[in-house]
Symmetry: C2
Subunit: 559 residues, 2 copies
């Protein structure tokens, strides 16, 4: 028997009208059917672990009983001011407790949580508020200026609730009421609402599209439930993890981790800013055992002083995704005594849905560098993703598992978004052929692991040859004097495009353009070496992704 | 705010027809919706861990790639002989690899697996085959005699496939074909079927009901998926557990563990008989780290020689359920270095759905006996059960959490059965009021943990198997010399409980205890026969009902 991969859909849905004995008198009823919703996990944490600490924020400790109570109060307050099923409630906040509570209180009211990227400018925030039709807008004082600017001239402005976080010292309070006063309502007889339909929307997350307006990705209760469980399973978190919020909760709802932490009744350690000293001190003080972050977060930790690094004295697990992490960063973090799990996903997939599942029986004896390279791959599907393939974008034929042929990463399953809000055309394009088209280009290795080579728009085509910007960046990262690097295409009359590198050196280091080019020529196929090198800080998005469109502009305007 | 428990349903389903922006153009499609089915986990284990051992049986090793291939072949063979969606495929087997494969191959064909209790007598097996309308019947040679007898006079007899297990030395092969020959079909182009509807039946498990004929409990793909995940989560199994089959797979589909082992790509160590020497040797040889069993299994291990016990040199986790395990047994097993998780469930709930979740911060400093007593409680709901309460059986009002007031254990959620096959009345009764009525009587402790005190249905649980007192009474009543009979549970160190019969003879008749026992052994499955018989008048209420609680006292005070 051949274990064929020629059937990428893995199934043929057999739909028949034939009736059988199992179709009679065995219907759904309240005893045997409940719409899946992550809110169920909050109820369970409240009932079983009411006394356990759910949230740590500075000196504050909030138990699971209190988190439930406060979320229920938020829900009651929202309902009290007219928020109904399917209404949007926006929030712009760092990671204070109110942000965590909003992940429960807003959907409890049947409403949809729209957590807005805090680094966007006012025009973008205005677009999002208008497009998402927010009825209520919770604003952390740190972001009052941008939010206030965004609200100017907004048609149907939302009710504003200011979040006055003790740990935030900047910004005026915006709007009519403060969060603590807003939720100070009786909820004694409040009975929280679980959705009657698990397909109901739970949240709305705008992608930072590189072209024009951002798209509103809609999540539903079913997917949020399943991806929350998937996080707990694939990362093997165990009960009562202590989780540090190095990831912004506005990013794909913190990869669904607010809900995961209810699954296993864990503790959230809030963090307003990712600074190495704060991270290491929090790890030591609260015995943090799990945190997530883009590679830039890991890099920040790697650059910390030896004193800070020495604070890690117990096992810590780090989950990373975003830009493909250079093997050098993975290796460095592992050397700190932290176990790195490399995952991959998109806003459209509720955050991470693949992981580089570690195969200790096969890889355990490899040297550290080989292990880090294996781990730098995006890997295989998590338990709750139903299908993952690398395929020809036109035909959807899977590419050979040869580690060479490039194709587009495609996914399908219950943790793929409902679609883009009020954008049926974009939704249809994203789902064409029955798969979600990620737009990421990858190869498929013989062991079934995928490895992303580039965003389809980031690939550099030079003299007809594809150059993966990631491959060049990996090489640059391996240089001891280089802190960060990004490579983009630069238009070229002769070659069509050539690679242009942007490099940040480590403090006190010096390198010349010629040295960098020579180094790359020595470590890469010659045509892949950059033709230009620029030394500068890299422009980044709020989530730590390098803004390649900015660099592309720069590259094409070099003197 | 009061965290009220006065709202036992925990939710009010808000069903509105109000439309909102999230209801347009965001529909289900193959990219973002897949019916939940545990078969997905098999595909994943095959794709990611093809080389890992899925099954150990004597000298045999079967990888996940092979388990998939063999299951697909079984599915193709079934389809080849006309098995269609919603057809029943029965199996009567100890725990050989074929039994494990049937949990995947049968539903792959869209069919429903009916694993039959191997200790039933021929009449009961005949009833089950007839009621479940089995199209195919897989019979382990050990059970050929009973199966052969059951088939006699059966209307529409099924196709028989014999399982010729190398590790079984008794019994003739029954029927037309042997399992290995049966599945020796090309499945190269076979593309397995995932259900189009997650509500489709996946298995059928007969309970020994209190009234005459057993009831056929129907499971669906959605519930099997969720309970399989629940096992992995609540037991915190991690990846690649090595699981010993001390639990019969016919028992609630082995509490859904065949599917759980696909979730985490574990290894099943098959075991035909629970004997202390075999269990301890398997634990040592294969580094087993997880096993399940009724308290009688734990008791068997406790009674083993010190040499055998000394074989446990690594951490092992034991999950137990069935009769409430005496604290002494829990304590004894913990002293062996095994961590006991006490769970509870019924055939109607896919096996275990509650667990005595350990609260180390609260209980960690208690003495061992107190800890064992705390652990002897049935506890709280697992992550995938939506509701659990102890309530007045008439009003469904939750009883106070005082550790004293008795009520009926009620559950609801997606891991509650579809219902009873071809028995709408029993289904309606079981689900009356929107909760599944377990028939078990319990108290609710102030910390929210439930503890079962009695069974309202007078079921006797002997060695993990249910014995209906009414079935035994029916047999006794059929004896010409017996006027009246009542059967109750008598506590037993080895079996948990054994049946004790109270018998009133007709005037002028004589019978000895040995004669009554022999008569029952001849007319019932042997394990259902009473171990003790008392001749007396039966104590009755004013309305003529036998006072079983009086008899239970007597039974437990016999000399």
């Amino acid at each position: 028997m051949v274990l064929t991969t020629s059937c990428p859909t893995q199934c043929v849905l057999r739909v028949t009208d034939q009736t059988n004995i199992y179709q009679n008198d065995l219907d759904q009823c309240p005893a045997n059917y409940q719409a899946l919703s992550p809110l169920s996990f909050l109820l369970r944490a409240r009932d079983i672990y009411p006394h356990r600490v759910a949230v740590i924020h500075g000196e504050r400790r909030i138990t699971w009983a209190e988190t439930y109570a406060r979320s229920a109060q938020l829900s009651a307050a929202l309902a009290g001011c007219g928020v109904r099923r399917g209404d949007t409630v926006a929030i712009m906040a760092a990671n204070p407790p109110a942000m965590f509570e909003a992940h429960f209180g807003v959907p409890m009211a049947g409403a949809v949580l729209n957590a807005i990227n805090t680094r966007l400018d006012a025009a973008m925030v205005r677009f999002i508020l208008q497009h998402g039709e927010a009825r209520v807008f919770l604003v952390d004082r740190e972001f009052s200026d941008v939010a206030g600017e965004a609200l100017k001239g907004l048609i149907n402005p939302p009710l504003i609730v200011a979040i006055d976080d003790d740990l935030c010292e900047t910004g005026e309070l915006l709007g009519e009421t403060e969060y603590e006063a807003f939720i100070d309502v009786a909820a004694d007889d409040f009975c929280m609402t679980l959705p009657s339909d698990e397909w109901d929307a739970i949240s709305l997350n705008y992608t930072s599209g590189t072209t024009g307006n951002p798209k509103g990705v809609v999540y539903h209760h079913r997917g949020a439930y399943l991806n929350a469980v998937s996080n707990a399973l694939t990362w093997n978190m165990g009960e009562h993890p202590v989780y540090l919020w190095t990831l912004p909760m506005f990013h794909c709802n913190g990869w669904c981790f607010p809900w995961t932490l209810a699954v296993n009744a864990g503790t959230s350690v809030c963090l307003r800013q990712v600074r190495a000293d704060k991270v290491f001190k929090a790890i030591a003080e609260h015995r943090v055992d799990h945190f997530c972050g883009a590679p830039v977060v890991l890099n920040t930790l790697l650059s910390a002083s030896a004193d800070l690094k020495a604070l890690v004295k117990h096992p810590v697990k780090a989950m990373t995704a975003g830009a493909a992490p250079p093997a050098a960063i993975i290796g460095g973090i592992q050397a700190l005594g932290m176990d790195v799990t490399h995952v991959y996903g998109l806003t459209e997939t509720y955050g991470p849905v693949t992981l580089c599942a570690w195969q200790d029986d096969l890889w355990g004896t490899h040297d550290q560098q080989t292990q880090a390279s294996l781990k730098a791959r995006q890997g295989v599907r998590g338990q709750m993703l139903e299908g993952l393939m690398v395929a020809d974008p036109q035909t959807l034929e899977p590419v050979p598992m040869d580690g060479k042929t490039m194709g587009e990463v495609c996914m399908r399953g219950n943790n793929v978004m409902k679609g883009y809000l009020k954008n049926p055309q974009a939704t249809a394009e994203a789902f064409a052929g029955g798969w979600f088209r990620s737009g990421d280009l990858a190869v498929w290795h013989p062991d079934g692991y995928i490895q992303i080579k580039d965003r389809s728009k980031d690939i550099i085509i030079s003299g007809g040859e594809n150059i993966s910007s990631i491959e060049v960046e990996d090489t640059l990262y391996a240089h001891p004097a280089i802190l960060e690097a990004a490579v983009v295409a630069r238009d070229d009359e002769k070659w069509g495009e050539t690679p242009c590198a942007f490099v940040t050196l480590r403090p006190g280091q010096t390198l010349t353009e010629a040295q960098v080019i020579a180094y790359c020529q020595a470590n890469l196929a010659r045509f892949k070496a950059p033709k230009h090198v620029v030394f500068c800080e890299l422009p980044k998005t709020s989530t730590g992704k390098v803004q390649k469109f900015v660099l592309r502009d720069k590259a094409n305007n070099l003197q």
